[in-house]
Symmetry: C2
Subunit: 156 residues, 2 copies
DNA sequence: ATGACTGCAAAGCCTTTGCACGCAA
DNA sequence: TTGCGTGCAAAGGCTTTGCAGTCAT
């Protein structure tokens, strides 16, 4: 069984759809429209995988959008709370964030321990195995995170 | 399939065996004997699962062992480097550490998102599925980390 | 007009680094 | 005696909080 790159199954339209979904959810939750939050949503919509808060801040600066770093963190916290974004800890010292697809499909991550690169992958076998663990040991599983460590193609 | 608590398969002797193994590895690697490092090893030997640097520092204080926090971090770094200890990121803001069993057996973690409790579990099905992913996408998998999020028995 | 949203700056926390002393070899 | 190991204190880096001005409603 081989892992298939996530990008082969999801087109650029997913990002726009997610952004729309996110804005609607925020409005439904009683949030007002705000430039900073909207800007963060746009950055996350454009990148389907694992951005750090600093990454987001940098992309906003590159786009000439003056957004305070605190606002980035606040937006990420709110989006995470509404489960529109997933917060990940991939072993590096800084947290990373990525959008949650409305459809429920999701991916996991391979982290190159040499260069730090993060690659998404999906694998039906693992998903199946994880599902079977649900409910064991009196613990109610609601979510899971899988990280493969190793060396990427160019580093090994 | 149900997850089996890790403790049912490993007795208290494992810790002592690991400590011995760790000391020998350090000596072989050219390290001198030092009180702080030895103290950290003893704490890790007594607890098979997921301690933060602060946890370790607290246990040392409780044992009247005056060890600087910097020394704890330095010891953990060295032990991690020699692969005697695994550094984990379980979603909380702080890193956690646990000993690596010489035999190769290992466990993963369930994290209660309500109370923060960390529970170890092992599951052959997941291990098998992860093994099959190895080598996919040009990435060489050397290690993996699986975290189940949800609610523990007393919180759900 | 009201209070949510934001940017800036300051504060917090975990972790790392600098430095001089002490101890292993 | 040599220089690794350690403790203490200071510095770093990411993240959160306080606060006053701004903007959506």
């Amino acid at each position: 069984m081989s892992a298939r790159p996530h990008s082969q199954r999801h087109g650029p339209a997913d990002g726009a759809r997610w952004a729309e979904h996110a804005r609607a959810s925020l409005e439904r939750a009683g949030f007002r429209r705000g430039g900073a939050r909207r800007a963060v949503i746009e950055v996350l919509a454009a990148e389907p995988c694992a951005l750090s808060a600093l990454d987001i801040d940098e992309r906003l600066s590159a786009d000439r959008r003056r957004v305070g770093r605190a606002s980035v963190y606040r937006a990420l916290e709110q989006l995470t709370e509404l489960e529109l974004v997933h917060r990940l800890d991939l072993g590096s010292e800084t947290a990373r964030y990525e959008r949650v697809e409305p459809g429920g499909e999701h991916h996991h991550h391979m982290v190159c321990d040499d260069c730090g690169k993060v690659l998404p992958f999906e694998d039906a076998g693992i998903e199946r195995a994880v599902t079977k663990v649900t409910g064991g040991a009196g613990f109610e599983v609601r979510d899971h995170e899988i990280v493969l460590h190793g060396a990427c193609e160019s580093c090994r």
